[in-house]
């Protein structure tokens, strides 16, 4: 069997086993499902409230109510995919290190990072993804925008780039567990960083905003993760500067680089693994 197909099959089994497990504890699953959905709806309510007071974010930024909701829908999809596929696993990685469970992963004839990253699928986050998708589609319809097939392909591609960027940052931090033993606070850091990416980059303007925008674009490229795919749907009509054209190209480079760094650090971490006592 060709390698990629085998990995896909293993992932399908992970997803299936996770679902069986989730269904064994149905009440727990429902509580998680509902609580994360209500968090999403509370946020949406808050955004709707904001647009009671203003028709757009800033002046002439192009982020009106529905443009922003396309953006938020995209943010929800990317975040929920990262959460659904990787969050439990990143969380669990510290435990694998501390209790020596990584031993069994290391002896398997499959890429260790793959096994560690995808072992568990958190199906309770799937609701958020559907809400994000629904929100984006609904907002596009309200705007009367019908994206072309090319736009949709580009959108999906950049959405996946966004997921890869979030994944890489997450596992970069998770891998430090090998050296630190406990890294819960460092791991929380991921949420803080990622929350910077949840807003259109135009809001990072002025003396305070510019350094933020620069930092979260070029050093920790979390700002391009959601902004770039969203712009393909609602902003691409009127590119404002040269930067706007270079951004998609840069995003591909940033995705490749941040993933490569994550991979390198992860390999180094595996090399330094000491394995908890018997």
């Amino acid at each position: 069997m060709p390698q990629p197909l085998r990995y896909l099959q293993i992932f399908a089994t992970f997803a299936r086993n996770s679902l069986i497990r989730d269904m064994t504890f149905r009440a727990n699953f429902l509580i998680e499902f509902i609580s994360s959905l209500s968090w999403v709806f509370m946020n949406l309510g808050f955004y709707i409230l904001i647009f009671h007071y203003t028709p757009s974010l800033g002046r002439d930024t192009g982020w009106g109510k529905y443009e922003f909701f396309v953006f938020t829908g995209t943010a929800l999809m990317i975040n929920s995919l990262a959460g659904m596929l990787f969050m439990t696993n990143a969380d669990n990685f510290g435990e694998l290190i501390r209790r020596g469970g990584l031993d069994f992963v290391l002896v398997k004839p499959v890429d260790t990072q793959f096994l560690v990253s995808l072992q568990r699928v958190d199906w309770s986050s799937s609701g958020n993804f559907l809400v994000g998708l629904g929100l984006a589609v609904y907002s596009l319809r309200c705007l009367g925008v019908w994206p072309s097939p090319v736009t949709i392909v580009l959108y999906v591609f950049y959405l996946l780039c966004g997921v890869v960027i979030l994944y890489s940052l997450m596992f970069l931090l998770a891998a430090t567990a090998v050296w630190l033993g406990r890294n819960e606070t460092l791991f929380d850091f991921w949420f803080y960083i990622v929350s910077f990416g949840r807003y259109p980059m135009e809001i990072y303007e002025g003396r305070f905003g510019r350094p933020f925008r620069w930092f979260f674009t070029f050093i920790i490229p979390v700002l391009v993760a959601i902004n770039v795919p969203s712009r393909f749907l609602v902003q691409s009509i009127r590119p404002q500067s040269l930067e706007e054209w270079l951004l998609p190209l840069y995003t591909i480079a940033a995705t490749v680089i941040v993933f490569a760094v994550c991979r390198a650090v992860f390999q180094l971490a595996l090399h330094s693994y000491r394995s908890a006592s018997s």
Binding site: M1, R6, Q9, I10, T13, F14, N17, I20, R21, T24, F25, R99, G100, G101, L102, D103, F104, L106, V107, K108, P109, V110, T112, H271, Y273, R274, S275, S277, S278
Partner: protein, 348 residues
């Protein structure tokens, strides 16, 4: 070609020296002091294909560390090892497909799912053809008597049943080399016995090369002809179990049951009395005097029953460890005058 070849293999861990008290802890935060733990010190070992070898040694002797090095879980500080021609810590898939590791203290099956689901996952991870998978799985679960438990969640299994499932999971891909790290730890005698019988039968049939670590001498006696005793990271004995017993056991245990319910009071002149429980007495006598003592006792008193045994293996091994510890201590005392010697952890 030998299945496993080890040359000068060493593993040293650097650990921060922990001190008590808040001030010392804060100081250590900025200027940590390290000490070095020599878990494995320059081990040489060759194991032929198809051998069943036991690693014996007290806790912390380096048995598990050696198994982890051979599994490629950790990287050595120095030295070489080849298992089936592969360098383990390169973690090549070609190697990882050919061996298996079972650890009695850790489990790899999904806790909340039936073992059958974990087995299915292993099938995909190892790329086992479906017909071979079904055949091997049924064979192994049949041999271990856990076939009817395949569809019960692992968390509902007893420790023994779970361990048997762990064994099945590890053997599904028919590994050529098997590392067993205390596979019977914490099990009741019946489960222990089943697993021993299984391992013996399985190894005889498949010719798998096996290394076993265990604290139960029974496991070792039943399964292994060759014994490697590891102490303080070094191999202090490598040879057959019978040789080890002959080498160490220079005495015998004689148990006598007197018929009139009275135990003679002058028995201590024959040997050391280790148990006095009328009408029974256990005597420890030098091996070459055993027949002489029995003859003398039987000539003088009326005995209902007499038995002669080798000393229990546990006792022999404990004596071996104790003497190794003593010689290590005296060696260190001698070495402490030579500061440039860095081979002992106590000198750091």
């Amino acid at each position: 070609m030998a299945a496993i070849e080890i040359r000068g293999l060493s593993k040293t861990y650097r650990v921060t020296r922990k001190k008590e008290g808040l001030v010392a802890t804060l100081r250590a935060l900025f200027r940590p002091e390290y000490e070095y733990v020599h878990a494995v010190r320059s081990i040489d070992l060759t194991i032929e294909s198809g051998e069943f070898v036991a690693f014996l040694g007290p806790n912390g002797a380096g048995k598990t560390t050696t198994l982890k090095l051979l599994s490629g879980i950790i990287t050595p500080t120095s030295g070489e090892a080849r298992v089936l021609g592969h360098i383990p810590w390169r973690r090549e898939n070609a190697y990882r497909r050919r061996f298996a590791l079972v650890m009695g203290q850790k489990n790899q099956l999904w806790w909340d799912l039936p073992a059958a689901e974990s087995f299915h996952l292993h099938q995909q991870i190892y790329g086992i053809p479906p017909d071979q998978f079904t055949r091997v799985r049924d064979e192994l679960t049949e041999m271990l008597g856990v076939r009817q438990l395949l569809h019960r969640p692992v968390r509902e299994l007893s420790l023994g049943e779970r361990m048997k499932m762990e064994l099945v999971a590890a053997l599904l891909h028919s590994p050529q080399v098997l590392f067993l790290d205390e596979p019977t730890i914490g099990l009741d005698v019946v489960a222990q016995y089943t697993i021993q019988q299984f391992l013996r039968e399985y190894q005889a049939r498949t010719g798998t090369t096996v290394i076993l670590t265990s604290h139960y001498m029974k496991d070792v006696v039943v399964l292994c002809r060759r014994v490697v005793v590891i102490f303080d990271g070094q191999i202090i004995y490598d040879g057959s179990l019978t040789n080890l017993v002959d080498h160490l056991g220079d005495y015998k245990i004689i148990t006598i049951r007197f018929s009139d319910g009275q135990v003679p009071t002058d028995l201590s002149r024959f040997g050391k009395i280790i148990l006095r429980e009328p009408p029974r007495v256990r005597l420890r006598v030098a091996r070459n005097e055993a027949t002489e003592v029995i003859r003398a006792v039987l000539a003088r008193y009326i005995a209902e029953d007499v038995s002669v045994e080798d000393p229990p293996l546990e006792e022999l091994i404990a004596a071996l460890f104790a003497s190794a510890r003593n010689s290590r201590l005296s060696q260190e005392r001698g070495n402490s005058a030579v500061p440039e010697d860095t081979t002992h952890s106590a000198n750091h």
